[in-house]
């Protein structure tokens, strides 16, 4: 069993999560070229080694996270929230005080 350190819920079994995809894929703008969309949707580097990948904590907080994992050994090197805004919100020093 892989154990994933969810940034929101703590260390959980990977059976609570569902694997998304290679997180390094950058999707083009909606009016991007057909070639760019083809590459983003269909082509994969298929890394053998350390890759960044998305997972969703489906049976937990349902948040998307980015996991840095070795695809040959399954070692997990780091975990962070997928959306930078949420990462900031989690860190109180970065939080903006609401107007009084």
């Amino acid at each position: 069993m892989l154990r994933i350190q969810c940034p929101f819920c703590g260390l959980r079994d990977h059976s609570e999560f569902s694997y998304g995809s290679d997180a390094s894929v950058e999707y083009p703008p909606l009016d991007g070229s057909q070639e760019a969309w083809h590459d983003a949707v269909f082509q994969r580097e298929n890394i053998d080694g350390v890759q960044f990948e998305t997972w969703q904590h489906t049976l937990g907080c349902r948040m998307w996270i980015v996991v840095e994992r070795n695809t040959r050994t399954h070692d997990i090197l780091s975990v962070r929230p997928a959306h930078d805004g949420i990462a900031q919100a989690l860190n109180p020093s970065l939080m903006i005080e609401p107007d009084q």
Binding site: M1, L2, D13, H14, S15, S18, Y19, S21, D22, Q34, E35, H38, D39, V41, F42, Q43, R44, E45, N46, D48, Q51, E53, W55, T71, R72, T73, H74
Partner: protein
């Protein structure tokens, strides 16, 4: 090498089994070959065999990083069927099944092909309608299949869970009687011996570490034990295709590597005469009984990308739950072994047998779960492609550009998510 026969089995039985010779050579490589096939799995060995037999090309090397048949050829559940519906797939797999039917005679090697029928259980009227559509399409395009009602299924496999209180009560089955199983190692050994008899050099323990190019063409492959030159090169290394492809600098492929587990139980007395498949409500399970008596079964992928040839526990639990829900009599059977193989999962669940941007490089990849049954036809059409430098009409859409052309062969209708194609 002399052909095997019942007479030779008798003679060698009388003289202490001393008359057998080795089934294939362990040759030193030549400096150059007409064709190098990378990967001595079932597909690579079959390709070499049919190149020699069908096309008279015998100056061939099959280069393998480990031992022959040691990858997915030895890591499958040995199911052979041709119940495909999409154009291209159905003709391809039916051709493969026809080759299976005569493979033992053709290779003079008993691959123990057993046409015991492939029985996919149905659990709802919608599933029956979909099965009828699939099997009607198959019957109209040259393959056979049957729909079994509940009494027929009960008569054939009486110990399934027919309980009306089951989570998914069984209502019938779609059946391909000509489908079945084969002995996976024997297929690898039979093709290796057959290819070797035509003079093909099988070079084991030589991993390809680089591909040499000169003015747009491949000139040879660098292996861990030296350079071997070639006029044409074919890749047949499903599971590790992307790794090898990177050596060619041709960019990315529509493939992800995922791992699939399989299981075998302790040997039992004869219990199950068919291949039984259970797939409903997210469950996916297939089981047959080997000639040694072990129950051989498997289920879904591990659901995350991996190159590790070892599986993870949640799927073990899933598969065990499926087993006991379909065949409750297996509840106390102990697991003997379980293993995992690395699959080339493609973006539409179908394979690639095609030319590449390099004129003398050919690709055979993307077999998803289905590589075992495909191996004879895969070798047949890949050999034809390499020998004649043009695809047979059957494999004309098994190309890398089918996604950009909008002609995906998505048998399951799952969309471009490799882990969903089973």
């Amino acid at each position: 090498m002399k052909p095997y026969s019942a007479w030779k089995v008798f003679v060698n039985g009388m003289n202490g089994q001393k008359g057998w010779t080795r089934a294939w050579r362990d040759p030193e490589p030549k400096k150059e070959y007409d064709v190098i096939i990378v990967g001595a799995g079932l597909h690579g060995l079959a390709t070499a065999y049919y190149l020699a037999k069908n096309h008279g090309v015998t100056n061939i090397a099959v280069v393998e990083k480990g031992w022959l048949g040691g990858g997915n050829g030895g890591r499958n559940t040995t199911i052979v069927r041709s119940n495909y519906m999409m154009p291209g797939n159905r003709e391809f797999y039916e051709h493969s099944l026809k080759l299976w039917e005569n493979l033992s005679h053709d290779l003079n090697y008993n691959v123990m092909f057993s046409q015991r029928a492939h029985v996919s259980l149905l659990h709802s009227p919608a599933a029956r309608d979909a099965a009828a559509r699939r099997y009607n399409t198959m019957r109209l395009t040259g393959t056979d299949g049957e729909l079994w009602d509940l009494p027929t299924l009960r008569r054939n496999i009486p110990h399934l869970n027919f309980d009306a209180d089951a989570r998914f009560p069984i209502t019938g089955a779609m059946v391909q009687p000509r489908a079945g199983t084969a002995r996976h190692d024997a297929v690898a050994w039979g093709y290796a011996r057959g290819a070797d008899q035509y003079g093909v050099d099988i070079l084991q323990n030589r991993e390809v570490i680089a591909v040499h190019r000169d003015s747009g063409k491949i000139t040879g492959v660098e292996t861990t034990r030296g350079l071997i030159k070639a006029k044409k090169v074919g890749f047949a290394v499903a599971g590790n295709t992307s790794r090898l492809w990177r050596m060619t600098d041709l960019g990315q492929l529509p493939i992800e590597s995922h791992k699939l587990q399989a299981f075998v139980s302790e040997p039992l007395k004869p219990l199950l005469d068919h291949v039984v498949v259970f797939g409903v409500g997210g469950a996916h399970f297939y089981i047959s009984q080997s000639d040694k008596g072990g129950m051989v079964f498997g289920g879904d992928l591990d659901w995350y990308k991996s190159y590790a040839q070892r599986g993870n526990l949640p799927i073990v639990q899933d598969v065990a739950e499926c087993a006991t829900s379909v065949l409750p009599c297996l509840g106390r059977v102990r697991l003997l072994r379980h293993w995992s193989g690395v699959m080339d999962m493609s973006m539409d669940g179908s394979a690639f047998i095609c030319k590449t941007p390099i004129s003398n490089l050919y690709l055979n990849a993307g077999w998803n779960y289905g590589g075992f049954k495909a191996s004879p036809a895969s070798g047949w059409f890949f050999a034809d492609l390499i020998a004649n430098d043009r695809p047979d009409p059957v494999i004309q859409n098994f190309t890398l550009d089918r996604f950009s052309r909008g002609i995906n062969i998505d048998e399951r209708g799952a969309g471009p998510d490799p882990k969903l194609h089973g």
